[in-house]
């Protein structure tokens, strides 16, 4: 698994969930694999290097402004960071622009798995299980629609959103 620890580290900062919570979803490996499937390894190396510099420059605490300046607004890293957040929340890999994919990505037509003609695949849900583990559901005080059934009549209870979003950490 390519640089899984770095993937979790970066993910924790991007999502504000502790690494333990992210590991607890059980689908981090799949997301990391998805990332390596569409982003070139040298680009990932640079991304993690950039992120570790941000950590190092500020005693392990990433300064939000620096993160925006160095990473989120960067034309190479920004799209990766946003796709990582979207994977955690929605379990979907979103299509990068063709231009980005040609420069930094692994074009889809070179992938034996998907083999489409465009350089980028269409948006897709990473797996059944990943859909169920999306972070957006508990954060809304709910559960993935169609899974993790909360039980008869629970919809009458007062919402417990604050517990789901804050105390779960």
């Amino acid at each position: 698994m390519y640089r899984l620890d770095d993937f979790y580290d970066l993910s924790a900062t991007l999502t504000d969930y502790p690494v333990t919570r992210l590991i607890g979803t059980g689908v981090g490996n799949e997301y990391n694999q998805t990332l390596s499937q569409w982003v070139r390894q040298d680009v990932l190396d640079e991304l993690y290097h950039c992120f570790s510099q941000l950590e190092r420059n500020n005693d392990g605490q990433v300064c939000p402004q620096a993160l925006r300046h160095q990473l989120l607004s960067n034309e190479k890293y920004g799209p990766i960071a946003r796709n990582i957040i979207k994977m955690w929340y929605l379990s979907i890999w979103y299509k990068m622009t063709d231009n980005w994919s040609m420069t930094y990505g692994i074009p889809a037509y070179s992938s034996p798995v998907i083999g489409v003609e465009s350089p980028t695949p269409e948006d897709y849900i990473i797996s059944n299980n990943a859909y169920i583990q999306g972070l957006v559901w508990p954060l809304m005080g709910s559960h993935p629609m169609g899974a993790k059934q909360p039980g008869y009549g629970t919809w009458s209870d007062a919402p417990l959103n604050s517990i789901a979003s804050i105390h779960l950490q």
Partner: protein
């Protein structure tokens, strides 16, 4: 062609109407064949090697990007089905002939869909099981337009009870008679001492919040005051049984689906089958030992006996799999033939066969509930995105004197936030990340402080029967098996638009009463965008396709008689919402099921006579 098999009854379509018919007849030891166009799961819940079970629908659902009503069910070009994502804006005035299954002639797009798989459209229905109001059966008499039914509420009443028991409806009769609403037009008489087989499904936190918040609210239409009352909705969904009634669990796994477990996914698919679907009735039909269900058989034609005008044979195309067009043409015959293929498909088959149409009403009077949504944010967390899709509504304006001038409507309270109007959360969260540039704690706050407050209402507005709203067929438009695609002419008239305008007015007052922050937006580019008196409104499809082969008082003006029998062919019965001459404000399936139990009784009597 192979030799023609004989049955007591041949039923076309394995949806709820066909399943009810088969179960009732099989129980009386009549030999029944159901021909079903779609593929099926053959009573399996779990996948069994290469044989797919109900759980395969869940797998398809989980990984489908667009979680539309037909998302879990196979895309089958041999029995194609309409998709909500096919619907397009038609303001340029041009027909749409090549986008999806329907050929849309306009002027407005028809936005509703159905499912062509074993079990039919109840695989993805919501399960709302309302009775019609007594006045709904006599629109012409009371309001001077629309049509009267040849059957009254009182006559149908016992069949409503049968249907509610057989579907398994959860509700309390003392709520559903609407006596608590100070508008006599909506009162529904129930038989003294009757109650539903299961107690009402618990109302959502939102329902209860609204119930309290709306105390004392009323609206004024033409100097009449109508109280706004929140009432729990009767649902074909397992709850707490009354007396010795026992809920029917999932087909293929009876331990599942004993009670609704709150999967919040009734449409497009209940993972545990706590929600009724027609597979349950089909399973009961099969256990009689007299019913055979034959999947992958698309009925395309029927042939008549020259002298008796009876339907002599039913002609179908049996295909081997969904991805190739290999098929064999076969025929069967039945002493009685029942067409139960859904309103649009029933009309299509009759038009293709050129039968049952001496009235020229086949395909005409197509109706739906143009459904207008309004949405906003509640001032406080109401726990959105939990529970069945809707557990309550506001039925106060289902009837009243105003129906002389404008459409009545029922208000549905949605439990799933903005999932219908905006595709939340899947379609809306990316915007927070990509455009609002949120990440980390800010992103969390944005979601947790807004999404649980999301709120929407749905207004199901009635349409009147209009002979120009119709399903036709055309040689130019066929599917890959050579069967006709439905060609649809559809218009939302001013009567309905006036109802939409009234609905918006009620919504505005209700939002103001509760302090809802409104986000409703109707865009000119919406497929269902219409205007009325200079204001724009958008409708969606409800999936309530009604009126394509209406029943009536005589053979000149209707397709079937009161007994649901074709006026033209003595051994042909039609069932389904196509028989209903008006749609009014209730989701149509319970009424249709009641009519189908009545029809089955009539078929039995007819079989006994011959």
């Amino acid at each position: 062609m192979t030799k023609c098999e004989q049955f007591d009854v041949v039923i076309i379509g394995a949806g709820i109407s066909g399943a009810i018919m088969a179960q009732q007849l099989g129980a009386q030891q009549k030999k029944v064949l159901i021909l079903e166009a779609g593929t099926g799961t053959d009573g399996r819940f779990f996948n069994n090697n290469d044989k797919k079970g109900y759980e395969s629908y869940m797998d398809t659902f989980f990984t489908a990007m667009a979680k539309i009503p037909n998302a879990p069910f196979p895309n089958n070009p041999n029995a194609p089905q309409p998709l909500v994502t096919d619907t397009r804006n038609m303001s340029d005035g041009k027909p749409i002939t090549n986008n999806g299954y329907f050929v849309q002639m306009g002027p407005n797009p028809f936005a509703s869909t159905y499912t062509r798989s074993e079990g039919g459209t109840t695989l993805h229905w919501l399960g709302t099981c309302l009775r019609m109001l007594p006045e709904d059966f006599k629109l012409k008499t009371h309001f001077g337009h629309g049509l009267d039914w040849p059957i009254s509420y009182d006559e149908l009443q016992p069949w409503y009870e049968v249907a509610e028991t057989m579907i398994g409806v959860s509700a309390n009769a003392r709520d559903q008679n609407y006596q608590q609403i100070d508008n006599p037009a909506v009162h529904i008489p129930f038989r003294e001492g009757y109650d539903y087989p299961m107690e009402k499904i618990p109302q959502s936190f939102l329902d209860n919040y609204m119930n309290q918040g709306l105390q004392g609210m009323s609206v004024t239409i033409d100097y009449h005051h109508y109280p706004i009352k929140v009432v729990s909705t009767p649902q074909g969904r397992n709850g707490m049984p009354r007396g010795d009634y026992r809920p029917v669990g999932a087909v293929g796994n009876q331990n599942l689906g004993q009670r609704c477990a709150g999967n919040s996914n009734c449409v497009p698919i209940c993972p545990i089958q706590a929600k009724y679907n027609a597979l349950k009735t089909l399973a009961q039909a099969k256990t009689t030992g007299f019913v055979e269900v034959r999947n992958q058989c698309v009925v395309s034609d029927m042939a008549l006996d020259e002298y008796t005008h009876e339907v002599k044979t039913v002609i179908y195309k049996q295909y081997t799999d969904t991805q190739t067009t290999d098929y064999e043409v076969k025929t069967v015959s039945g002493r009685i033939v029942v067409l139960a293929a859904h309103a649009v498909e029933n009309a299509k088959i009759l038009l293709a066969a050129g039968i049952a149409n001496s009235s020229d009403q086949v395909g005409r009077n197509l109706m739906d509930h143009p459904t207008m949504l309004t949405w906003g944010l509640m001032p406080t967390d109401i726990g959105a995105f939990r529970g069945p899709g809707s557990t309550s509504g506001i039925p106060s304006l289902r009837g009243g004197e105003f129906r002389r001038k404008q459409a009545a409507f029922r208000i549905e309270i949605g439990n799933w936030g903005w999932s219908w109007p905006a595709g939340a959360p899947i379609s809306t969260v990316p915007d927070l990340i990509d455009n609002k540039n949120l990440y980390g704690a800010e992103l969390k706050r944005a979601i947790s402080s807004v999404y649980p407050r999301m709120f929407r209402l749905g207004f199901l507005v009635e349409q009147l029967p209009d002979p120009n709203n119709r399903v036709t067929i055309d040689e130019r438009y066929k599917d890959q098996l050579g069967n006709y695609r439905p060609v649809i002419h559809y218009q939302v008239t001013d009567y309905t638009r006036a109802g939409m305008a009234q609905a918006k007015q009620v919504s505005d007052e209700l939002f103001a009463y509760l302090g809802v922050e409104a986000y409703t937006q109707y865009k000119q580019s919406d497929p269902g965008y219409v205007t009325y008196q200079g204001e724009g409104y958008s409708y969606n499809g409800a999936g309530h396709l009604v009126g394509t082969h209406i029943m009536g008082f005589n053979a000149q003006t209707s397709v079937v008689d009161k007994h649901q029998r074709s006026w033209d062919h003595p051994n042909l019965y039609l069932v389904g919402c196509g028989n209903m001459p008006t749609i009014s404000t209730s989701n149509p399936t319970l009424t249709m099921a009641a009519l189908t139990y009545w029809a089955a009784d009539n078929v039995l009597k007819a079989l006994e006579q011959t």
